[in-house]
């Protein structure tokens, strides 16, 4: 009887799984028998530099930072696409050209909006 040509893959997968899982299971068994768990308030604490963490993580985040996100997108992400656009300019189809122009228009809109809002003025 001829075995399936991919049978060795199944065998190797099972062997790999056992190779990883058996030591983990042994370690778990050992820990259960010979190393009782001992959690506590300071052992289970999140912070591990010796100090107590004082306030909670639930703070109010300043929403004004959305301006930076938009301006970053305009100046940084645009640059990433402008260079390949310039390199491939001659070989572009009409569709590709239109797509990149729409993309640029969307970003320029953001720039105009930021300009009108006065974000770019140095105060």
């Amino acid at each position: 009887m001829q075995s399936h040509p991919y049978l060795f893959l199944v065998v190797l997968t099972v062997a790999a799984l056992l190779f990883a899982l058996i030591p983990l299971a042994l370690a778990r068994l050992w820990a259960k028998t010979f190393s009782p768990r001992k959690p506590g308030p300071s052992k289970s604490a999140v912070y591990e530099c010796g100090l107590e963490s004082k306030p909670t993580g639930w703070i109010q985040f300043k929403s004004d930072y959305y301006i930076y996100a938009i301006v970053f997108l305009v100046f940084d992400v645009e640059t990433i696409f402008l260079l390949p656009f310039a390199v491939a300019f001659k070989g572009l189809s009409i569709g590709g050209f239109a797509a990149i122009m729409i993309f640029l228009l969307l970003l320029v809109e953001g720039l105009v909006w930021a300009c009108m809002k006065g974000v770019l003025k140095w105060k």
């Binding site: 010979f34 190393s35 009782p36 001992k38 959690p39 506590g40 308030p41 300071s42 052992k43 604490a45 591990e48 530099c49 010796g50 100090l51 107590e52």
Partner: protein, 205 residues
């Protein structure tokens, strides 16, 4: 448990036998990971011990961990001030069991030259279960290596089961020691009563 005489006899014939407990202790003593944590000038000697000239990695203890979650040896290297002590005890509490403490240098043992200072703790063994004390001000790296070897000898004799097993193997033993707080005049509590039992002072009139 194999008889020790028989074990020696078999060793002479080239047959090496061991027990699970010995194997476990051998593994533990050969990979003691200290907490990367220095308080004063003794820490410089600790750093020197970890470098190429003294080379603490010969004993498997070169992996200084910056997180207490991964360390099992706390080398109290230097003067422990009362301001610093709560952090030291909290770090010790955060270390997983089994854990060991080496008090390195005169300051960690007793306060050393700063013993009379109002802000210096007079020995870290008032709050932590110290396994090995190293005298010296500061102790040389060789002294730290000797302390590590002494600790390894101690780990070797740890029992896995029975009445004599160490604290970390007893399910009902507490995992954490009380963290002192700043009181009006001193730390509260001023010592861990369960740990620190000094010999009574006898005065000869």
């Amino acid at each position: 448990m194999i008889d020790e005489g028989l074990q020696n006899e078999m060793k002479k014939q080239g047959v090496f036998t061991t027990s699970l407990q010995d194997l476990y202790n051998w593994g533990r003593k050969s990979s003691v990971w200290p907490l990367q944590f220095g308080l004063a000038c003794c820490a410089i000697e600790m750093i020197a011990a970890s470098m190429a000239r003294f080379d603490i990695s010969r004993f498997g203890a070169e992996v200084f961990r910056p997180s207490p979650r991964q360390a099992d040896l706390m080398i109290v290297a230097g003067t422990v001030t009362k301001k610093m002590l709560p952090q030291v005890v909290r770090l010790y509490n955060q270390m997983p069991e089994p854990k060991y403490v080496i008090a390195m240098g005169a300051c960690a043992i007793s306060g050393g030259p700063f013993k009379e200072g109002y802000n210096v703790l007079k020995g870290v063994d008032r709050y932590l279960p110290v396994d090995v004390h190293i005298p010296g001000c500061p102790p040389r790296p060789e002294a730290l290596l000797h302390a590590l070897m002494t600790l390894q000898k101690k780990i070797e004799t740890d029992a896995l089961t029975g009445e004599k097993r160490p604290r970390h193997l007893q399910a009902d033993a507490p995992s954490e020691f009380p963290i002192p707080e700043f009181g009006e005049h001193d730390l509260v509590p001023s010592k861990n009563e369960q740990l620190w039992k000094p010999a009574p002072v006898v005065r000869n009139e």
